[in-house]
């Protein structure tokens, strides 16, 4: 009697659930595809726009039938293409980094820029610039990478050994503390050794110095990071249910967290070493993604990558447009979007993760 009725109902329920999942997958794929198309278009725009105006047709020509004699082709190949590709990659890396961090710490306010990452990289950079002025681009990149890692490790260590764990406030404050300390050291050295002005460009973030060499670095390191992120995406979803719950479900939380930290380190380190301190992408994009697609990190990670890349390309175009022909630091544009969003989050009662 009841048994049969219930069984029928259960069938109905599970098919409803199944439908919902299928719908979600369709939505996810849809967003991904549209996102990637938009990226290609924006890249095209980005390459076309600039101090020297170049038509879109020329852009296509430069890609397909490259002629080293034509200046505009040169500009496209040497400067603009790497810049556009760099924007997509850096944006993607920062967004995924933020998503992973928010999942790991169960904290909607986590983001690479509050994590002491940028100040760590800055610190390493200052030391390199001040004491090894002959360092190559590669050397600088590596050192800022190392510095970023240092910053992240410090912040997470504080959290790990902290009473009561890493609450949102504590995380933000730990980031401020580590950041200020490293920043103070950096300032002291920078002022003493006269490298201060170089550093401030870096602080504001910019894609002006992106070269094919940087792209190679980005692709290798970031590629690894992205793959790893996708690999642990399902575990992060489970982790976001809570420490005890996920342990109860058989998760090796320590392993997941360690891998997660490595992902954050690699992705953010790569991004920051190439493009300087660009804030708020890691904060804002994961929220938008979650809003669109729910809490499944297997979707959140790829979609955040796509949206992050899109945002940064557009922000870069805006950065060049705003005060033409001077470059506004792209970090300023992302701050203009990011700070109000952060404040909105800070006011919110929602605990959506």
């Amino acid at each position: 009697m009841n048994g049969i009725g219930n069984a029928k109902q259960q069938e109905g329920d599970s098919s409803a659930l199944h439908k919902k999942r299928v719908r979600a997958s369709i939505k996810g794929t849809f967003v991904l595809i549209i996102g990637m198309i938009l990226i290609l278009i924006s890249m095209g725009l980005s390459i076309a726009y600039g101090a020297a105006d170049i038509k879109m047709a020329t852009v296509w020509e430069a890609v397909s039938h490259f002629n080293p004699e034509i200046t505009s082709h040169q500009i496209i190949q040497e400067i603009r293409m790497p810049r556009a590709i760099g924007a997509v990659l850096v944006g993607a890396f920062l967004a995924v980094s933020g998503a992973v961090m928010q999942g790991l710490t169960r904290n909607p306010l986590a983001s690479p820029s509050i994590m002491g990452v940028t100040d760590g990289a800055a610190f390493a950079l200052v030391i390199t610039l001040a004491f090894f002025p002959a360092a190559t681009m590669l050397g600088l990149t590596i050192s800022s990478f190392a510095g970023a890692g240092l910053g992240v490790i410090l912040v997470f260590t504080i959290g790990a050994f902290s009473k009561g764990g890493l609450t949102p406030v504590k995380l933000a404050l730990a980031g401020v503390a580590v950041g200020s300390m490293l920043s103070a050291f950096s300032s002291a050295i920078a002022l003493h050794t006269q490298v201060a002005k170089d550093m401030s460009f870096w602080y504001a973030g910019g894609l002006t110095t992106v070269s094919w060499g940087s792209i190679k670095i980005l692709l290798i390191t970031g590629g690894l990071g992205l793959v790893l992120a996708l690999y642990i995406s399902r575990s992060i979803t489970i982790l976001s249910l809570g420490e005890e719950v996920s342990k109860g479900l058989g998760q090796n939380t320590l392993l997941v967290k360690s891998l997660g930290v490595i992902v954050v380190l690699v992705l953010t380190g790569a991004a920051v070493s190439v493009a300087g301190a660009i804030g708020f992408i890691g904060l804002v994009i994961p929220h938008i993604t979650r809003f669109m697609i729910g809490s499944d990190y297997r979707w959140i990670i790829p979609i955040s990558a796509v949206l992050g890349g899109l945002l940064l390309v557009l922000a870069d175009i805006a950065a060049r447009m705003v005060n033409a022909p001077f470059e506004t630091p792209v970090g300023a544009i992302t701050a203009i979007i990011g700070v109000p969003f952060f404040l909105y989050l800070a006011r919110g009662e929602r605990r959506g993760l």
Binding site: S162, V169, M181, A196, A346
Partner: protein, 339 residues
């Protein structure tokens, strides 16, 4: 009560000890520097019997600077103590809440629009810059208050909004800084790191009464601060007008921070660490720990300034950096131990 008598004795001992330490540092600071003046000569000069050169260095340069250091140290420390009480968060400080960067932003604007004027400390600069800094501090506080207000102020929200506002002003500061010419840029950079730049008696004359008025005011509110520390509900139950008092105290804290930043640039962490140490030494009763905080803040800043001036001569390490380098690790330690 035995306990309170013991505490009172401890209080007196601590205050005397801190005073002695401060005086020693004071004398040392007068002595050290590019121009070294022996302690005996210091005393002679103070009594009006020194050489003209000594007179110039001591009375016109070092003395006002050190007095400012004392005032700023006390001001920032007490500001932090009040903020911690009002936000019920042991980790609050005017730097973290963005009040310093608000002031800094206005100062950067000032430097940007009055380019090149930082070189001469003329009357205009002395009067206008602190005003700009104060306006910036108030602006930041206003923004934070308004944004954190949602039918009342939740302390956690206040801190988070503060951090947000801090980031915002930080970004704005960088944008303007990059537009400056190299000289102004350096001036700005140094100021932002915390630098007691107004070595001029006129400056002291303006700031001293302002800060010296606010400090006793804080003490006057000690009882109320004690009660607010018990939580909004208990405080309301005891008949305190919580929102009104919170606003008033915030205003006082912001004013203290604003004036201190005007004179000393972006010095962070002092307002955080000094109240903590004071509380550990003497307990949470504001009547006792506020005075200790003030004297401790004054001492620490004077010490930091002395170190900053003399450690890597001829480079002057901005005092804010020295404070940050020593306080940040302690802050991190506190963060790990706090609940």
């Amino acid at each position: 009560m035995n306990q309170s008598n013991a505490k009172k004795k401890k209080f007196i001992v601590l205050i005397i000890l801190l005073f002695i330490l401060t005086i020693i540092t004071f004398v040392l600071s007068l002595n050290l520097g590019v121009v070294r003046i022996a302690p005996i000569d210091v005393f002679k000069t103070l009594l009006g019997k020194g050489t003209a050169r000594d007179q110039l260095v001591l009375v016109d340069f070092r003395l006002p600077r050190m007095i400012l250091a004392l005032l700023i140290g006390a001001g920032l420390a007490v500001s932090g103590a009040i903020l911690q009480g009002v936000t019920k968060n042991e980790l609050a400080d005017p730097g973290i809440l963005g009040i310093n960067s608000g002031a800094g932003f206005m100062v950067i604007l000032f430097i940007y629009f009055f380019q090149g004027s930082m070189n001469s400390i003329n009357t205009l600069v002395i009067f206008l810059m602190p005003l700009f800094a104060l306006a910036g501090a108030v602006l930041a506080a206003f923004l934070i208050y308004v944004l954190a207000w949602k039918k009342g102020i939740d302390p956690v929200r206040l801190i988070l909004v503060g951090i947000g506002v801090n980031s915002g002003f930080g970004a704005a500061i960088i944008i303007f800084q990059l537009k400056m010419n190299p000289q102004d840029f350096m001036q700005a950079a140094v100021w932002l790191s915390g630098d007691i730049w107004g070595t001029n008696w006129k400056f002291v004359a303006i700031l001293a009464p302002l800060i010296l008025l606010l400090l006793p005011f804080a003490l006057y509110k000690a009882h109320i601060l004690n009660i607010m520390n018990l939580g909004d509900q208990v405080a309301t139950g005891l008949g305190i007008q919580v929102e009104k008092e919170r606003r008033l105290l915030l205003l006082a804290a912001v004013a203290l921070a604003g004036f201190s930043v005007a004179a000393g640039g972006g010095i962070a962490f002092l307002g955080l660490v000094a109240p903590h140490i004071a509380k550990r030494l003497i307990g949470p009763k504001h009547q006792l720990f506020l005075p200790i905080t003030a004297v401790l803040g004054a001492f620490v800043l004077l010490l930091a300034d002395t170190i900053g001036k003399n450690l890597l001569t001829p480079t002057q390490i901005p005092v804010g950096i020295v404070v940050a380098i020593f306080s940040a690790p302690y802050f991190i330690f506190l963060l790990m131990k706090a609940k």
